[in-house]
């Protein structure tokens, strides 16, 4: 049944080849540098774990932990907002309303993200409009300091930056679920709640996966939000790597990058183990002969 058109396979491999040549090759270089030794201002080939030791023993390891935590929390918040929105769009609102809402979700992204993120410092500051409102209405006697330069502000920044990106894949996969399956579930006597958890959610796993990846990876790699909105010295991995590069410490910067990629691959491996790929790839993988 499977017909091979000459060149078809090569065409399908094009994106993979693109990533292999222009990302994996440079990345291999990075992994190599993480094992090299510093020599003056540059590096010389070696097989040394010194950079990793320095990373694990210093203050930078705490940054990795903090990044994981910040990314996980921001993703959870983002998902809890994006999923209901995508669900409402896919199931309950008209096509025109859906188009409008999705469009409205993209518009803030046209504004430079530095300016967008920075705007929060004005909104949430001690003398900003939010605090004026809080004090003016008597909700608090004095401005709330924790609104800005705090974990709270970082989450505001991360969620507003990445949650809208999560809506799209969720909407796409929710709107692709065949209504027949949901109706069948009702016919078989399952209530709406049970149908939602047993039918809709499992079928939307591809979208959830994409949304979680967008949210988690985006937050994890974020380097502007922490330095604009975070408290004294708040930094995530991106900031720590930049800082090491400031003194030309290429091995430790490379070691940190390698560690980040390794952690991400570990998560992906866990996903592979925990979920049957078919639940994620849906009908795609049914195409096997």
């Amino acid at each position: 049944m499977r017909r091979f058109v000459p060149g078809r396979r090569a065409l399908l491999l094009l994106p993979v080849a693109f990533v292999v040549v222009f990302l994996i090759a440079p990345l291999a270089l990075t992994v190599a540098v993480s094992l090299w030794q510093r020599a003056g201002f540059w590096v010389k080939p070696a097989l040394s774990l010194a950079a990793y030791e320095q990373f694990v023993s210093g203050a930078r390891l705490a940054v990795l932990g903090r990044s994981l935590q910040a990314a996980a929390v921001a993703t959870a918040i983002g998902l809890s907002i994006a999923y209901p929105i995508a669900y409402a769009l896919a199931r309950h609102l008209s096509a025109a309303a859906t188009r409008t809402v999705l469009l409205l979700f993209t518009i803030p992204f046209l504004v430079n993200y530095i300016i967008r993120t920075f705007a929060w410092t004005w909104l949430l500051g001690r003398t900003g409009p939010v605090n004026s409102l809080v004090v003016g209405t008597g909700l608090a006697d004095q401005p709330l300091d924790w609104l800005l330069f705090s974990d709270f502000a970082v989450y505001v920044g991360l969620v507003t930056s990445y949650m809208p990106l999560m809506v799209f894949p969720l909407w796409i996969s929710l709107s692709g679920i065949e209504q027949r399956l949901v109706e069948a579930s009702w016919l078989l006597g399952a209530g709406p709640w049970r149908t939602f958890w047993r039918v809709t959610v499992p079928l939307s796993i591809p979208g959830v996966f994409a949304a979680v990846v967008f949210g988690f990876v985006g937050s994890f790699g974020e380097s502007a939000v922490p330095i604009i909105l975070g408290g004294v010295g708040y930094q995530l991995m991106g900031n720590a790597i930049t800082s090491a590069l400031d003194v030309l410490n290429y091995p430790i910067a490379a070691a940190m990058s390698t560690a980040v990629v390794a952690v991400m691959l570990l998560f992906l491996a866990c996903w592979y183990l925990a979920f049957d790929l078919r639940t994620f790839l849906g009908k795609i993988l049914r195409w096997r002969f």
Binding site: R126, G231, V232, G233, Y234, S243
Partner: protein, 393 residues
């Protein structure tokens, strides 16, 4: 199935457009401005040296255009752009905060400057006074006896405050005074903030530090321990990392005492805030911007000649006055006189402003202080200890 048909046409159109657009981009023909070869000098700049895009005087004199590429000033950006990013082949000049000669020369990234090719060099009394070989300021433009940078801007830093709230302040001690607990912000910069803190600790007798500009690892640790103790006590509201952020901290009265650059105070004053820049008894932190020539053996001789003419232009009166006016930094000794002598180019008000900035910064240099050190001997310890300060909770 009209819908299918139309979407197929869309798709084909889309595919064709992709091919065309990608082809156009890859053949490098699309944007005219990108044809940088011949007649354009490329200047990488941190934003301070941009005369609002007006290079007409240089272009009229030489026939060459100037393409300004905005780059960051963090050592990582500068070094990465030059070491890794192929910047050495693209940029003819890199105009950044000086003092970076050691890593740049050691990595073979910049060329020595032939000062005799710039007539304005000899006319620049600030260079002779503050930056010549043998003066401490030489560290900002020279390395191992050779000149590598053309000083385009000179400045002395201290800190800013809101006198209405704090009254007059004249010591870096204010940054650490519990009276302003929670209303202080520092710069996220291990050399400047580290040096200012060390200066204060030394003068206040809190630690024995031999040279605040070039500390030993043990001394750095002492300074960072002190900063962490203050951080845990809630002394600092934030550590800022950008000009915009610092200005807003003052304008929104988010903090009262701010480790800052003087133009931030000017910007806050323009927004109607009564901010002041301190004249601390410990002295100013002096620094200079340096325009380096990235080493590029393939650069044609003609372009190198024009590069020198541009550097000379940047030491000249018009450019100096313009940059002083726009950015609030002192530039070169010709600037105030030029602005005053050319009323059709600078209003009397503007000329006065240039003269004021010049006089103000000259006063700082005459009072003295210490020179900032962008690349201290133990720079790596500075960085890793600073990482410890930032991560501390």
């Amino acid at each position: 199935m009209t819908r299918t048909g139309s979407s197929r046409r869309d798709f084909l159109k889309y595919t064709a457009a992709t091919g065309l657009a990608a082809g156009g981009a890859l053949s490098g023909r699309l944007p005219a401005a990108l044809a940088a070869a011949g007649g354009t000098v490329t200047l990488a700049d941190i934003g301070v040296g941009d005369p609002d895009g007006d290079w007409s005087r240089f272009t009229n004199a030489t026939g060459w255009k100037v393409n300004l590429v905005a780059i960051g000033n963090a050592p990582s950006t500068v070094l990465n752009v030059l070491v890794a990013g192929g910047g050495a082949r693209v940029y003819d000049i890199a105009n950044i905060v000086g003092g970076m000669q050691k890593p740049l020369v050691e990595n073979d990234l910049i060329e020595p400057i032939d000062t005799s090719r710039m007539p304005n060099w000899a006319k620049n009394s600030y260079i002779q006074q503050f930056l010549a070989q043998g003066k401490p300021g030489f560290e900002f433009i020279g390395y191992e006896g050779k000149v590598y940078g053309v000083p385009t801007v000179l400045q002395g830093d201290s800190f800013a405050y809101l006198p209405d709230v704090t009254g007059p302040l004249d010591s870096y001690a204010a940054l650490f005074d519990p009276k302003w607990k929670g209303y202080v912000a520092l710069e996220d910069n291990f050399t400047t903030t580290g040096q200012k803190t060390a200066l204060y600790m030394k003068q206040a007798g809190l630690a024995s530090i031999k040279d605040p500009a070039d500390m030993t690892p043990a001394e750095i640790k002492t300074v960072v321990d002190f900063l962490i103790e203050k951080k845990r006590a809630g002394q600092f509201r934030v550590i800022w990392s950008s000009f915009e952020q610092a200005v807003n901290l003052l304008v929104n009265k988010e903090v009262y005492v701010l480790d800052a650059w003087e133009p931030m105070v000017f910007a806050a004053q323009r927004k109607g805030v009564d901010a002041a820049y301190a004249n601390p008894k410990e002295g100013f932190l002096l620094w200079a911007m340096a325009a380096y020539i990235p080493k590029n053996p393939q650069r044609p001789k003609e372009r190198l000649d024009v590069t020198y003419r541009l550097l000379d232009f940047m030491l000249g009166g018009w450019y100096g006055a313009k940059i002083a006016l726009l950015r609030g930094y002192m530039t070169n000794p010709q600037a105030p006189a030029y602005a005053k002598a050319h009323p059709q180019e600078f209003t009397a008000d503007e000329a006065k402003k240039v003269a004021d900035i010049d006089a103000n910064v000259k006063r700082k240099f005459e009072k003295g202080g210490t020179w900032q050190n962008r690349w201290p001997t133990h720079v790596e310890t500075y960085e890793s200890e600073w990482a410890r300060f930032k991560a501390a909770r």
